[in-house]
Amino acid sequence: MTKNNYLTFLQTLLDEYVMDNQIKEDIIKDYDSLWLQYEELGMDPQSIISKLGQPKDIIGELTEGYIKKETKLYYKKKSFNNKLIALTPFIALVLFFLIGFLVPNGFIYAWQTFLLIPMSAIILEGPKKNLEKLTALSPFIALIIFFSILGFGFNLWHPGWMIFLIIPIIGGLNHPSILKRVLISGGLFVTAILYLMIDQLSSFGVIQINSNVSLPYSLFVFIPVLIVILYEWLKNILKNGWMYLILLVISTALYFYISIEFNLWVISWLVFFSIPIYAIMKQAPKKDKIIALMPFISTSLFMILGYFFNVWAFAWLVFLLIPVVAIIQGK
Protein backbone atom coordinates (compact mmCIF):
# COMPACT_ATOMS: atom_id res chain seq x y z
CA MET A 1 0.00 0.00 0.00
CA THR A 2 1.39 3.41 -0.96
CA LYS A 3 1.10 6.51 1.19
CA ASN A 4 -1.63 7.92 -1.07
CA ASN A 5 -3.64 4.70 -0.91
CA TYR A 6 -3.23 4.61 2.86
CA LEU A 7 -4.42 8.20 3.28
CA THR A 8 -7.30 7.77 0.80
CA PHE A 9 -8.51 4.68 2.68
CA LEU A 10 -8.26 6.52 5.98
CA GLN A 11 -10.16 9.49 4.51
CA THR A 12 -12.91 7.15 3.24
CA LEU A 13 -13.31 5.64 6.71
CA LEU A 14 -13.32 9.06 8.38
CA ASP A 15 -16.00 10.24 5.93
CA GLU A 16 -18.35 7.62 7.38
CA TYR A 17 -18.50 9.63 10.62
CA VAL A 18 -20.25 12.85 11.56
CA MET A 19 -17.06 14.84 12.10
CA ASP A 20 -15.95 18.35 11.29
CA ASN A 21 -14.08 18.48 7.97
CA GLN A 22 -11.32 20.53 9.58
CA ILE A 23 -10.67 17.73 12.10
CA LYS A 24 -10.59 15.13 9.33
CA GLU A 25 -8.14 17.24 7.30
CA ASP A 26 -5.98 17.64 10.37
CA ILE A 27 -5.86 13.87 10.98
CA ILE A 28 -4.94 13.19 7.35
CA LYS A 29 -2.28 15.89 7.45
CA ASP A 30 -0.82 14.40 10.64
CA TYR A 31 -0.67 10.90 9.20
CA ASP A 32 0.87 12.29 6.02
CA SER A 33 3.56 13.97 8.11
CA LEU A 34 4.14 10.86 10.28
CA TRP A 35 4.51 8.73 7.15
CA LEU A 36 7.07 11.13 5.68
CA GLN A 37 9.05 11.25 8.92
CA TYR A 38 9.24 7.45 9.06
CA GLU A 39 10.20 7.42 5.40
CA GLU A 40 13.08 9.75 6.21
CA LEU A 41 14.22 7.18 8.76
CA GLY A 42 14.53 4.73 5.86
CA MET A 43 11.44 2.64 6.56
CA ASP A 44 9.53 0.83 3.81
CA PRO A 45 5.73 1.24 3.47
CA GLN A 46 5.02 -2.08 5.22
CA SER A 47 7.02 -1.12 8.31
CA ILE A 48 5.47 2.36 8.35
CA ILE A 49 1.97 0.83 8.28
CA SER A 50 2.87 -1.45 11.17
CA LYS A 51 3.95 1.66 13.12
CA LEU A 52 0.89 3.74 12.23
CA GLY A 53 -1.64 0.91 12.11
CA GLN A 54 -4.01 -0.21 9.36
CA PRO A 55 -6.73 2.43 8.79
CA LYS A 56 -9.49 -0.06 9.71
CA ASP A 57 -7.70 -0.85 13.00
CA ILE A 58 -7.13 2.75 14.10
CA ILE A 59 -10.41 4.27 12.93
CA GLY A 60 -12.18 3.27 16.16
CA GLU A 61 -9.68 5.18 18.32
CA LEU A 62 -9.61 8.17 15.98
CA THR A 63 -13.37 8.53 15.92
CA GLU A 64 -14.01 7.92 19.62
CA GLY A 65 -16.96 10.07 20.66
CA TYR A 66 -18.23 10.50 17.10
CA ILE A 67 -21.19 8.63 15.60
CA LYS A 68 -21.45 7.07 12.18
CA LYS A 69 -23.49 8.94 9.59
CA GLU A 70 -25.70 5.89 8.94
CA THR A 71 -26.29 5.51 12.69
CA LYS A 72 -27.35 9.14 12.93
CA LEU A 73 -29.72 8.75 9.98
CA TYR A 74 -31.08 5.51 11.45
CA TYR A 75 -31.87 7.11 14.82
CA LYS A 76 -33.33 10.19 13.15
CA LYS A 77 -35.64 8.01 11.06
CA LYS A 78 -36.51 5.76 14.01
CA SER A 79 -37.33 8.74 16.19
CA PHE A 80 -39.61 10.18 13.47
CA ASN A 81 -41.32 6.80 12.98
CA ASN A 82 -41.88 6.40 16.72
CA LYS A 83 -43.48 9.85 16.91
CA LEU A 84 -45.74 8.96 14.00
CA ILE A 85 -46.76 5.64 15.62
CA ALA A 86 -47.45 7.42 18.91
CA LEU A 87 -49.70 9.88 17.04
CA THR A 88 -51.70 7.18 15.26
CA PRO A 89 -54.18 6.48 18.13
CA PHE A 90 -55.16 10.17 18.11
CA ILE A 91 -55.44 10.26 14.32
CA ALA A 92 -57.55 7.08 14.50
CA LEU A 93 -59.81 8.62 17.14
CA VAL A 94 -60.34 11.82 15.12
CA LEU A 95 -61.06 9.80 11.97
CA PHE A 96 -63.41 7.54 13.97
CA PHE A 97 -65.61 10.47 14.99
CA LEU A 98 -65.37 12.20 11.61
CA ILE A 99 -66.49 9.09 9.74
CA GLY A 100 -69.02 8.25 12.45
CA PHE A 101 -70.78 11.62 12.39
CA LEU A 102 -70.26 12.78 8.80
CA VAL A 103 -70.81 9.58 6.80
CA PRO A 104 -74.33 8.07 6.80
CA ASN A 105 -74.25 4.96 9.04
CA GLY A 106 -70.60 5.85 9.53
CA PHE A 107 -70.21 4.14 12.89
CA ILE A 108 -70.67 0.80 11.14
CA TYR A 109 -67.33 1.37 9.38
CA ALA A 110 -65.63 3.84 11.69
CA TRP A 111 -64.19 1.27 14.14
CA GLN A 112 -61.81 0.20 11.40
CA THR A 113 -59.85 3.43 11.82
CA PHE A 114 -58.36 1.83 14.95
CA LEU A 115 -56.73 -0.75 12.70
CA LEU A 116 -54.44 2.12 11.69
CA ILE A 117 -52.63 1.67 15.04
CA PRO A 118 -51.15 -1.79 14.42
CA MET A 119 -50.93 -1.09 10.67
CA SER A 120 -48.78 2.01 11.15
CA ALA A 121 -46.50 0.10 13.52
CA ILE A 122 -46.08 -2.70 10.97
CA ILE A 123 -45.45 -0.28 8.07
CA LEU A 124 -42.98 1.95 9.93
CA GLU A 125 -41.23 -0.41 12.33
CA GLY A 126 -42.29 -3.88 11.20
CA PRO A 127 -40.38 -6.45 9.13
CA LYS A 128 -37.84 -4.99 6.70
CA LYS A 129 -38.66 -7.28 3.78
CA ASN A 130 -41.64 -6.11 1.72
CA LEU A 131 -43.22 -9.56 1.48
CA GLU A 132 -43.00 -10.11 5.24
CA LYS A 133 -44.48 -6.64 5.79
CA LEU A 134 -47.33 -7.47 3.42
CA THR A 135 -47.90 -10.76 5.27
CA ALA A 136 -48.17 -8.95 8.59
CA LEU A 137 -50.55 -6.41 7.04
CA SER A 138 -52.70 -8.96 5.22
CA PRO A 139 -55.16 -9.69 8.11
CA PHE A 140 -55.92 -5.96 8.38
CA ILE A 141 -56.20 -5.49 4.63
CA ALA A 142 -58.56 -8.49 4.47
CA LEU A 143 -60.64 -7.17 7.37
CA ILE A 144 -61.07 -3.72 5.78
CA ILE A 145 -61.91 -5.10 2.33
CA PHE A 146 -64.31 -7.65 3.86
CA PHE A 147 -66.28 -5.22 6.04
CA SER A 148 -66.10 -1.91 4.18
CA ILE A 149 -66.15 -2.97 0.55
CA LEU A 150 -67.50 -6.50 0.12
CA GLY A 151 -69.75 -6.74 3.18
CA PHE A 152 -71.33 -3.37 3.84
CA GLY A 153 -70.57 -2.02 0.35
CA PHE A 154 -71.91 -4.80 -1.89
CA ASN A 155 -73.57 -7.12 0.62
CA LEU A 156 -71.23 -9.86 -0.51
CA TRP A 157 -70.62 -11.39 2.90
CA HIS A 158 -70.57 -14.66 1.04
CA PRO A 159 -68.33 -15.30 -0.86
CA GLY A 160 -66.66 -12.12 0.41
CA TRP A 161 -65.19 -14.05 3.36
CA MET A 162 -62.82 -15.62 0.84
CA ILE A 163 -60.75 -12.42 0.95
CA PHE A 164 -59.30 -13.81 4.20
CA LEU A 165 -57.59 -16.46 2.09
CA ILE A 166 -55.06 -13.77 1.09
CA ILE A 167 -53.54 -14.29 4.57
CA PRO A 168 -52.32 -17.89 4.00
CA ILE A 169 -51.72 -17.20 0.29
CA ILE A 170 -49.34 -14.31 1.00
CA GLY A 171 -47.98 -16.10 4.07
CA GLY A 172 -47.15 -19.18 1.98
CA LEU A 173 -45.03 -17.05 -0.37
CA ASN A 174 -42.56 -16.57 2.49
CA HIS A 175 -41.70 -20.28 2.56
CA PRO A 176 -38.01 -20.84 1.75
CA SER A 177 -38.80 -23.76 -0.59
CA ILE A 178 -40.12 -22.76 -4.05
CA LEU A 179 -42.02 -26.05 -4.30
CA LYS A 180 -43.80 -25.40 -1.01
CA ARG A 181 -44.56 -21.85 -2.11
CA VAL A 182 -46.24 -23.19 -5.26
CA LEU A 183 -48.06 -25.93 -3.36
CA ILE A 184 -49.35 -23.72 -0.54
CA SER A 185 -49.94 -20.32 -2.16
CA GLY A 186 -50.55 -21.48 -5.74
CA GLY A 187 -52.64 -24.44 -4.60
CA LEU A 188 -54.74 -22.33 -2.30
CA PHE A 189 -55.27 -19.68 -4.97
CA VAL A 190 -56.31 -22.19 -7.65
CA THR A 191 -58.56 -23.98 -5.15
CA ALA A 192 -60.19 -20.70 -4.12
CA ILE A 193 -60.97 -19.91 -7.76
CA LEU A 194 -62.32 -23.46 -8.22
CA TYR A 195 -64.49 -23.12 -5.13
CA LEU A 196 -65.77 -19.74 -6.29
CA MET A 197 -66.68 -21.20 -9.69
CA ILE A 198 -68.57 -24.17 -8.19
CA ASP A 199 -70.32 -21.89 -5.74
CA GLN A 200 -71.35 -19.36 -8.37
CA LEU A 201 -72.38 -21.96 -10.94
CA SER A 202 -74.54 -23.72 -8.35
CA SER A 203 -76.10 -20.46 -7.18
CA PHE A 204 -77.06 -19.60 -10.78
CA GLY A 205 -78.41 -23.10 -11.25
CA VAL A 206 -75.88 -24.05 -13.94
CA ILE A 207 -74.86 -27.06 -11.91
CA GLN A 208 -77.25 -28.77 -9.54
CA ILE A 209 -76.15 -29.11 -5.95
CA ASN A 210 -78.62 -29.33 -3.15
CA SER A 211 -78.83 -25.71 -1.94
CA ASN A 212 -78.73 -26.72 1.71
CA VAL A 213 -75.45 -28.54 1.39
CA SER A 214 -73.80 -26.73 -1.53
CA LEU A 215 -71.57 -24.65 0.71
CA PRO A 216 -70.16 -27.52 2.82
CA TYR A 217 -69.80 -29.75 -0.26
CA SER A 218 -67.99 -27.20 -2.36
CA LEU A 219 -65.63 -26.58 0.57
CA PHE A 220 -64.28 -30.07 -0.07
CA VAL A 221 -62.23 -28.69 -2.97
CA PHE A 222 -59.96 -27.19 -0.31
CA ILE A 223 -59.05 -30.64 1.00
CA PRO A 224 -55.92 -31.28 -1.18
CA VAL A 225 -54.39 -27.94 -0.34
CA LEU A 226 -55.34 -28.29 3.30
CA ILE A 227 -53.52 -31.62 3.36
CA VAL A 228 -50.33 -29.91 2.13
CA ILE A 229 -50.63 -27.17 4.76
CA LEU A 230 -51.49 -29.73 7.43
CA TYR A 231 -48.50 -31.87 6.41
CA GLU A 232 -46.14 -28.88 6.74
CA TRP A 233 -47.69 -27.99 10.07
CA LEU A 234 -47.56 -31.56 11.38
CA LYS A 235 -43.87 -31.76 10.46
CA ASN A 236 -43.20 -28.77 12.72
CA ILE A 237 -45.46 -30.18 15.40
CA LEU A 238 -43.61 -33.48 15.47
CA LYS A 239 -40.36 -31.55 15.80
CA ASN A 240 -41.64 -29.31 18.57
CA GLY A 241 -43.73 -31.63 20.69
CA TRP A 242 -46.72 -33.92 20.75
CA MET A 243 -48.81 -31.55 22.84
CA TYR A 244 -49.74 -29.63 19.69
CA LEU A 245 -50.96 -32.80 18.03
CA ILE A 246 -53.06 -33.72 21.08
CA LEU A 247 -54.52 -30.19 21.13
CA LEU A 248 -55.29 -30.41 17.42
CA VAL A 249 -57.15 -33.71 17.85
CA ILE A 250 -59.08 -32.48 20.91
CA SER A 251 -59.91 -29.13 19.26
CA THR A 252 -61.12 -30.81 16.09
CA ALA A 253 -63.29 -33.27 18.03
CA LEU A 254 -64.66 -30.45 20.18
CA TYR A 255 -65.25 -28.28 17.10
CA PHE A 256 -67.43 -30.90 15.44
CA TYR A 257 -69.19 -31.85 18.67
CA ILE A 258 -70.12 -28.24 19.58
CA SER A 259 -71.03 -27.38 16.00
CA ILE A 260 -73.23 -30.40 15.31
CA GLU A 261 -74.72 -30.93 18.76
CA PHE A 262 -75.50 -27.26 19.52
CA ASN A 263 -75.47 -25.88 15.94
CA LEU A 264 -72.81 -23.34 16.90
CA TRP A 265 -70.82 -23.29 13.65
CA VAL A 266 -70.46 -19.51 13.85
CA ILE A 267 -68.32 -19.54 16.96
CA SER A 268 -67.22 -23.16 17.46
CA TRP A 269 -63.99 -22.51 15.48
CA LEU A 270 -62.77 -20.48 18.47
CA VAL A 271 -61.70 -23.77 20.08
CA PHE A 272 -58.77 -23.85 17.64
CA PHE A 273 -57.35 -20.81 19.46
CA SER A 274 -56.26 -23.31 22.11
CA ILE A 275 -53.26 -24.18 19.88
CA PRO A 276 -51.71 -20.68 19.52
CA ILE A 277 -52.68 -19.92 23.14
CA TYR A 278 -50.76 -22.99 24.30
CA ALA A 279 -47.79 -21.97 22.13
CA ILE A 280 -47.78 -18.47 23.64
CA MET A 281 -48.07 -19.79 27.19
CA LYS A 282 -45.18 -22.15 26.55
CA GLN A 283 -42.81 -20.00 24.52
CA ALA A 284 -43.48 -16.27 24.98
CA PRO A 285 -41.46 -14.40 27.64
CA LYS A 286 -43.50 -13.94 30.86
CA LYS A 287 -43.95 -10.16 30.51
CA ASP A 288 -45.07 -10.47 26.86
CA LYS A 289 -47.57 -13.29 27.37
CA ILE A 290 -50.63 -11.13 28.02
CA ILE A 291 -49.85 -8.89 25.01
CA ALA A 292 -49.53 -11.90 22.72
CA LEU A 293 -52.74 -13.41 24.12
CA MET A 294 -54.85 -10.26 23.70
CA PRO A 295 -55.76 -10.70 19.99
CA PHE A 296 -57.16 -14.16 20.82
CA ILE A 297 -58.96 -12.98 23.94
CA SER A 298 -60.41 -9.96 22.07
CA THR A 299 -61.59 -12.03 19.12
CA SER A 300 -63.20 -14.61 21.43
CA LEU A 301 -64.96 -11.86 23.41
CA PHE A 302 -66.03 -10.14 20.18
CA MET A 303 -67.61 -13.31 18.82
CA ILE A 304 -69.24 -14.33 22.13
CA LEU A 305 -70.68 -10.85 22.81
CA GLY A 306 -71.87 -10.52 19.22
CA TYR A 307 -73.38 -13.97 18.87
CA PHE A 308 -74.93 -14.59 22.28
CA PHE A 309 -75.89 -11.00 23.18
CA ASN A 310 -76.33 -9.63 19.66
CA VAL A 311 -74.22 -6.55 20.36
CA TRP A 312 -72.07 -6.66 17.23
CA ALA A 313 -72.33 -2.87 16.92
CA PHE A 314 -70.44 -2.37 20.19
CA ALA A 315 -68.56 -5.63 20.53
CA TRP A 316 -65.69 -4.38 18.30
CA LEU A 317 -64.66 -2.15 21.23
CA VAL A 318 -63.00 -5.18 22.80
CA PHE A 319 -60.32 -4.93 20.10
CA LEU A 320 -59.18 -1.73 21.79
CA LEU A 321 -57.95 -3.99 24.57
CA ILE A 322 -55.04 -4.99 22.30
CA PRO A 323 -53.29 -1.57 22.18
CA VAL A 324 -54.45 -0.67 25.71
CA VAL A 325 -52.86 -3.78 27.23
CA ALA A 326 -49.70 -3.27 25.17
CA ILE A 327 -49.43 0.35 26.38
CA ILE A 328 -50.03 -0.65 30.01
CA GLN A 329 -47.34 -3.31 29.71
CA GLY A 330 -45.00 -0.56 28.57
CA LYS A 331 -44.61 -1.60 24.94
Binding site: L36, Q37, E39, G53, I58, E64
Partner: protein, 107 residues
Protein backbone atom coordinates in the same frame (compact mmCIF):
# COMPACT_ATOMS: atom_id res chain seq x y z
CA UNK B 1 -4.94 -5.78 32.47
CA UNK B 2 -8.14 -4.26 31.11
CA UNK B 3 -7.97 -2.13 27.97
CA UNK B 4 -9.36 0.90 29.78
CA UNK B 5 -6.77 0.71 32.54
CA UNK B 6 -3.96 0.21 30.02
CA UNK B 7 -5.25 3.16 28.00
CA UNK B 8 -5.26 5.35 31.11
CA UNK B 9 -1.68 4.37 31.98
CA UNK B 10 -0.44 4.99 28.41
CA UNK B 11 -2.18 8.38 28.50
CA UNK B 12 -0.34 9.27 31.69
CA UNK B 13 2.99 8.12 30.20
CA UNK B 14 2.47 10.24 27.07
CA UNK B 15 1.70 13.27 29.26
CA UNK B 16 4.81 12.65 31.34
CA UNK B 17 7.12 12.19 28.34
CA UNK B 18 5.95 15.43 26.77
CA UNK B 19 6.11 17.27 30.09
CA UNK B 20 9.87 16.56 30.12
CA UNK B 21 10.42 18.07 26.67
CA UNK B 22 8.32 19.09 23.66
CA UNK B 23 8.39 16.26 21.12
CA UNK B 24 7.09 15.38 17.66
CA UNK B 25 4.58 12.56 17.20
CA UNK B 26 7.18 10.15 15.83
CA UNK B 27 9.51 10.83 18.76
CA UNK B 28 6.71 10.20 21.27
CA UNK B 29 5.79 6.95 19.53
CA UNK B 30 9.42 5.79 19.45
CA UNK B 31 10.12 6.75 23.06
CA UNK B 32 7.02 4.92 24.22
CA UNK B 33 8.05 1.89 22.20
CA UNK B 34 11.56 1.92 23.69
CA UNK B 35 10.35 1.97 27.29
CA UNK B 36 7.00 0.26 27.23
CA UNK B 37 5.74 -2.66 25.19
CA UNK B 38 2.83 -0.75 23.68
CA UNK B 39 1.04 -0.96 20.40
CA UNK B 40 2.44 2.02 18.50
CA UNK B 41 -0.85 2.47 16.66
CA UNK B 42 -2.54 3.65 19.83
CA UNK B 43 -0.16 6.54 20.57
CA UNK B 44 -1.20 9.01 17.85
CA UNK B 45 -4.95 8.80 18.66
CA UNK B 46 -4.05 9.53 22.31
CA UNK B 47 -2.00 12.55 21.24
CA UNK B 48 -4.95 13.79 19.19
CA UNK B 49 -7.44 13.30 22.00
CA UNK B 50 -5.27 15.01 24.61
CA UNK B 51 -4.63 17.91 22.22
CA UNK B 52 -8.39 18.26 21.66
CA UNK B 53 -8.80 18.37 25.46
CA UNK B 54 -6.29 21.25 25.63
CA UNK B 55 -3.64 19.26 27.48
CA UNK B 56 -1.20 19.88 24.62
CA UNK B 57 -0.63 22.72 22.24
CA UNK B 58 1.09 22.09 18.95
CA UNK B 59 3.30 23.98 16.58
CA UNK B 60 4.78 22.91 13.29
CA UNK B 61 8.53 22.87 12.86
CA UNK B 62 9.50 23.21 9.25
CA UNK B 63 12.72 21.63 8.13
CA UNK B 64 14.96 22.51 5.18
CA UNK B 65 15.24 18.94 3.96
CA UNK B 66 12.62 16.80 5.65
CA UNK B 67 8.87 16.79 6.29
CA UNK B 68 7.37 19.39 8.63
CA UNK B 69 6.93 18.05 12.15
CA UNK B 70 4.09 18.73 14.52
CA UNK B 71 5.58 19.26 17.96
CA UNK B 72 3.53 18.72 21.13
CA UNK B 73 4.03 20.84 24.25
CA UNK B 74 2.24 20.40 27.59
CA UNK B 75 -0.13 23.25 28.46
CA UNK B 76 -0.79 24.52 31.98
CA UNK B 77 -4.08 22.65 31.91
CA UNK B 78 -2.11 19.54 30.91
CA UNK B 79 0.37 20.07 33.75
CA UNK B 80 -2.43 20.21 36.30
CA UNK B 81 -4.03 17.13 34.82
CA UNK B 82 -0.70 15.27 34.86
CA UNK B 83 -0.04 16.28 38.49
CA UNK B 84 -3.48 15.04 39.50
CA UNK B 85 -3.01 11.85 37.49
CA UNK B 86 0.40 11.14 39.06
CA UNK B 87 -1.02 11.61 42.54
CA UNK B 88 -3.87 9.19 41.81
CA UNK B 89 -1.40 6.75 40.28
CA UNK B 90 0.86 6.83 43.38
CA UNK B 91 -2.11 6.24 45.70
CA UNK B 92 -3.33 3.44 43.49
CA UNK B 93 0.12 1.79 43.37
CA UNK B 94 0.47 2.12 47.15
CA UNK B 95 -2.88 0.33 47.65
CA UNK B 96 -2.04 -2.33 45.08
CA UNK B 97 1.37 -2.95 46.73
CA UNK B 98 -0.31 -3.26 50.11
CA UNK B 99 -2.75 -5.87 48.82
CA UNK B 100 -0.24 -7.82 46.74
CA UNK B 101 2.33 -7.73 49.52
CA UNK B 102 -0.24 -9.10 51.90
CA UNK B 103 0.21 -6.12 54.26
CA UNK B 104 -3.43 -5.49 54.86
CA UNK B 105 -5.80 -6.12 57.74
CA UNK B 106 -7.13 -9.68 57.26
CA UNK B 107 -10.35 -9.75 59.27
Amino acid sequence: MTTQLKKGIIELCVLKIISDEPLSGVHVIERMKEMLNVNENTVYPILRRLTAQDYFRTHTEKSEIGAPKKVYTLTEHGQNYLAKGLLEWKDFMKDVSTILGGHYDKK
